[in-house]
Subunit: 422 residues, 2 copies
């Protein structure tokens, strides 16, 4: 496998002003094409550092993807640094200049003289046209290494990768693109997921795990040699071990039906697809989660087809007026109680006319806990036409973590009901 490195440039990255998400993203893309990613390096906007690291990489790697340093200011040194590292002076690329001027014209502005710098590319390099921003990238061979330099803006970088860099890579290297299948799970820890998978392996398949709290993702990497029907067969085997926690699968061949939602995306998206398929609707009554269940649902495009309304009833008065929770119950059991969660779910369901109602009440902290009901106590209820289901939870962590876990618990309880009932 050819070796690859990532070089990120910019004071804002090396000083910690921004976290470098480009490097992780590019590493995944390179892996998908069969490269062996061995090193990431980040340097600031200093010529000597940059020239030195380019020289090191040129002697070491087969491919290097570089981001940043293509802007118009004095801090942007990439082209000049490559020119010095490989003794290939920069020259004005007239096509690049025309593209930059045209971009300013299309925005109704005149190009500032400083932007002329962005059309200076090392001699002998290949221009990477940037249709998504001002700065063109460039590619060149230095030492044993093929370098591709892209802007640091993630949106532009991703377009250049797909439309400019990947085709050039395919010309130079024999790519071995594989297939990534991801099982998104909820309600299980990473170590339990790993234990469930103990002893499973298959030719041409690599298993990985990724925690994205409160979810855990089980990643299957299939080499290009594994045929589609075998991919499906292997996924079925994995589902026998991890299927009970899997709410959706991403990357499965489109022909496959393994009996589990294969639409991908968030738990709310999976719930929404299931509601749509059933022709049913949802209404929410939230206290401790403060609108985060509604936000998760409305982050899904087209949610208005299945979400009727969400009420954030923080005060007791709101619970009584908007949901019909009885003052006697609030008095007798407290706002954080099974009785109130059930009344919230039923109340919002009945008043909204939705098929399903979710009610949630709890103590997200940091204050408000008592010995009986410590911070993290949460009651969630799901009301359907037939019945109201309840779960009492004791969630760990700080306010943000408790809210996040409560949202996932409520949506997962609903999702299971949507699959259990007809």
């Amino acid at each position: 496998m050819p070796t690859a490195e990532i070089l990120s440039q910019g004071d804002e990255v090396v000083t910690g002003q921004i976290a470098d998400t480009n490097a992780a993203w590019l590493s995944e893309r390179l892996l998908e094409q069969g490269f062996d990613v061995v090193r990431h390096t980040t340097v600031g906007d200093r010529m000597a550092d940059l020239v030195a690291v380019i020289g090191e990489i040129a002697a070491r790697a087969d491919v290097c993807l570089c981001t940043g340093g293509l802007g118009p200011t004095e801090d942007d040194l990439t082209a000049e640094a490559f020119a010095r590292a490989f003794d290939a002076p920069v020259a004005l690329d007239p096509v690049a200049l025309e593209q930059i001027e045209e971009r300013f014209r299309s925005m109704g502005r005149t190009m500032s003289p400083v932007n002329r710098k962005q059309a200076l590319l090392p001699q002998g390099s290949v221009r990477l046209d940037n249709d998504w921003g001002t700065a063109p990238g460039f590619a060149l061979v230095g030492g044993r290494c093929w370098f591709a330099c892209m802007p640091g803006v993630p949106r532009e970088m991703r377009q250049l990768w797909e439309h400019r860099v990947l085709p050039l890579l395919a010309d130079r290297f024999e790519l071995r693109p594989g297939r990534r299948v991801i099982l998104r799970t909820i309600g299980v820890g990473e170590s339990d997921l790993q234990t469930a998978m103990l002893g499973w392996s298959a030719e041409g398949v690599t298993v990985g795990y990724r925690t994205k709290l409160p979810e855990n993702h089980l990643k299957l990497w299939f080499e290009a040699t594994v045929p589609e029907d075998e991919v499906v067969a292997r996924v079925r085997e994995v589902l026998e071990r991890a299927g009970r926690w899997t709410y959706t699968i991403e990357g499965l061949p489109e022909v496959a039906d393994v009996g589990v939602d294969a639409g991908g995306g968030t738990l709310a998206a999976a719930v929404g697809r299931r509601l749509l398929a059933r022709g049913e609707t949802l209404a929410l009554a939230e206290s401790c989660t403060g609108g985060r269940i509604a936000s998760a649902c409305t982050a899904v495009a087209g949610a208005s087809a299945w979400l009727l309304e969400g009420l954030v009833t923080y005060s007791n008065a709101a619970k009584v007026r908007l949901l019909g929770v009885s003052e006697a119950d609030l008095e007798a059991h407290g706002a954080v109680s099974e009785v109130v969660a059930r009344a919230m779910a039923s109340g919002v369901r009945e008043r909204s006319g939705a098929t399903w109602g979710v009610g949630i009440t709890g103590i997200a902290g940091p204050s408000g806990g008592t010995p009986d009901k410590p911070v993290g106590t949460v009651h969630v209820a799901v009301a359907s036409p037939d019945r109201v289901l309840h779960r009492a939870l004791r969630l760990p962590g700080d306010r943000d973590r408790i809210q996040s876990l409560a949202v996932a618990s409520a949506l997962e309880l609903l999702r299971r009901q949507l699959h259990a009932s007809n």
Copy 2:
């Protein structure tokens, strides 16, 4: 200034499974102490790569902070790699072993034999006791460089930095800790913010910018030599230029009052403080933001003191039933209109009994746009006892971006009213 580097180790980082947030965090801490951070390097779990990069850094930097590779598995190579790089074979540290065994005992478990590996440290290194996890770190001098190796788990790493690494650094180097003051702004782009600051400079102060959409942060770094009263005077000067966009300041000396909220944190937190100070309350009626304003408010601890309720009225029926929006207005103007936004704000204010009501309606996309009302059209209204203020917005971007900008616009409109009125 002494030079510093960061070395992150782990296949999960170099392959892009996780983004390396440790490097950015440690860089900021080093800068705060006066170090010149020149490079970050990430390598996978391969002995040859690791030994090579340690050797390079030893010849180049004054300080290197390393994270990862201290776990019990075969992939965890850090101690052995340092041993090989500097010819200092690992040896069992009996105190480290006792600490690890004790940690397992305290969790009611027996230490597995594999964990014994975590007590093997390079000879001549200084153990960094880890009271927050299993793996102890270590520090040692190699070449011209002082290395400190910490676990990759961010929570543990941060504790080790503060309680173990920083004191040792202070013994070896003359630290020059400064003060970081951050002005958090909203409603202004980074280039306009920079333009407003053109020509401003002061001895011992470095100005930086950080975009955290939809906010822009203006960062002032004061060297340790700048006395507190001068810090305050400089911040006042900067506020004359950027004050009209600044909703809160972080890091100001506690004695200072510069006429701007100095509580820090999010826009919702600043709004909440202002409501609390006025003894007033808030109610929300959201359509296109789908609960995200409520979520932003309830992410603030103690929000129940000022947020009464939030209604996510996605359907027209919900707008009529819960907010008293008239069906005739919905018919005549459409749900996304000034009239309906005003009615939502007034309706939720009156029915909830809150001092202030916010109503927001719009088209977050990707579908639902028309030539008259394209995706990104948003109407926001703020109702007070006196009047209802309205703004029509045309927001750019995808669904997530439009929702995020709409949340900020609504909160900022409210914040300005809270400051304008008495």
